[in-house]
Symmetry: C2
Subunit: 221 residues, 2 copies
């Protein structure tokens, strides 16, 4: 408790000037609650699980099921998706190449903040460009945070047959331009940490593979 | 566990098309892990504590001490400040009026995501304009999230005497333009939830006031 009340207890007695006091506090900030402390409180080690794949490949479905499976084990995760990001912090971004890159950059920065807080960030966005994903990975690497790329691999034919939002139909009709898989490329991950074939596995198997990865690599007990 | 594996267990047997399956899953997403669930896991209710005040008023000092006090009680908080926001997600923003507003808007959106995740978001930025702060408050209100404005009230004279980063000196010398309190206004909160006079209280007293507020209002037990 001594360090907690450093300013209140120690400094007035020392008769230091306010400027010196503040400078000391800034230094003292370095020793406060750390990423590791927060992880210990939560009984886990934070990481970003970056789900990438075609529209309709099953990214959100896997993320939702994983969130539930982690919760059942008493672990805290948080999903970043179109509902809470595209409509929130990124609502001033469109779909130009520049805006798409900025969209992914901001999501990567937010995911990194969650990892720093000790939470598992589950990001599910198409994120079709390898360069954008690699930049988010580099952002994590720079801070020593874990970036786990999860390739939700599903054939275009299967994703298009599902077409849950009717987007492929609109893209084929030319009503949507630059749609990933139709007239814009999806660049597959070259070395994803986890590779799931959602048209050949059950959801149960997919979740089990991710949980096993997290256990083996010490993110959850 | 039945609902967790909805897609894998139920749907293949029902012989539904992939499109129907996906639509069902979208609906099912609504019933997944909620803000309340995450709060229950953490034993707290998330909230944004929005520290506002002059440069050198003590915002970060209080936030750091509060973070420690919450941690000592087993509660999870996360600080948003210049180090992890201005240098991260907001690194492409400058100090024009437009960029300052966008800076605060993004921080507000990020704080909201943390509240949704169950965590206490401790935001410490000067945030001098009432309109900007009120917009962040409205953002929280819209989602039923708690926004607790903490006015770090310190006279300009006292803040300028501390001048921990030497910024007032530079502003007085004309080396920094539009500096809050010198040649740019600080608009005091009209009805802050918590009002702290940092030049008249000890840090211990300040933290105790905030902890009491959080206890009385059911954010922590």
């Amino acid at each position: 408790m001594e360090s907690l009340y450093y300013r209140a207890i120690n400094l007035p007695d020392q008769g230091t000037s306010m400027a010196e006091q503040k400078a000391t506090n800034v230094h003292w900030h370095d020793g406060d609650i750390s990423t590791e402390d927060r992880g210990a409180l939560l009984g886990q080690r934070g990481a970003t699980l970056w789900f990438t794949g075609l529209s309709g490949s099953g990214k959100s479905t896997v993320a939702v099921a994983l969130e539930q499976a982690l919760f059942n084990r008493g672990k805290l995760s948080y999903r970043l998706d179109g509902d809470n990001v595209r409509l929130g912090i990124n609502k001033n971004l469109g779909f130009s190449a520049e805006d798409r890159t900025e969209n992914i950059r901001r999501i990567g920065e937010i995911a990194k903040l969650f990892v720093d807080s000790g939470v598992m960030a589950l990001s599910s966005f198409i994120s079709p460009y390898r360069d954008d994903r690699d930049q988010v990975r580099a952002l994590h690497d720079d801070s020593g945070f874990a970036f786990i790329e999860v390739f939700i691999d599903c054939s275009l034919a299967a994703a298009e047959e599902r077409d849950p939002k009717g987007l492929y139909k609109k893209a084929r009709a030319g009503e949507i331009k630059n749609f990933t898989g139709i007239d814009d490329p999806y660049e597959e991950p070259l070395k994803p940490e986890i590779h799931l074939h959602t048209d050949k596995m059950t959801l149960e198997e997919e979740v089990e593979i991710i949980i096993s990865y997290l256990e083996k690599n010490g993110f959850i007990a």
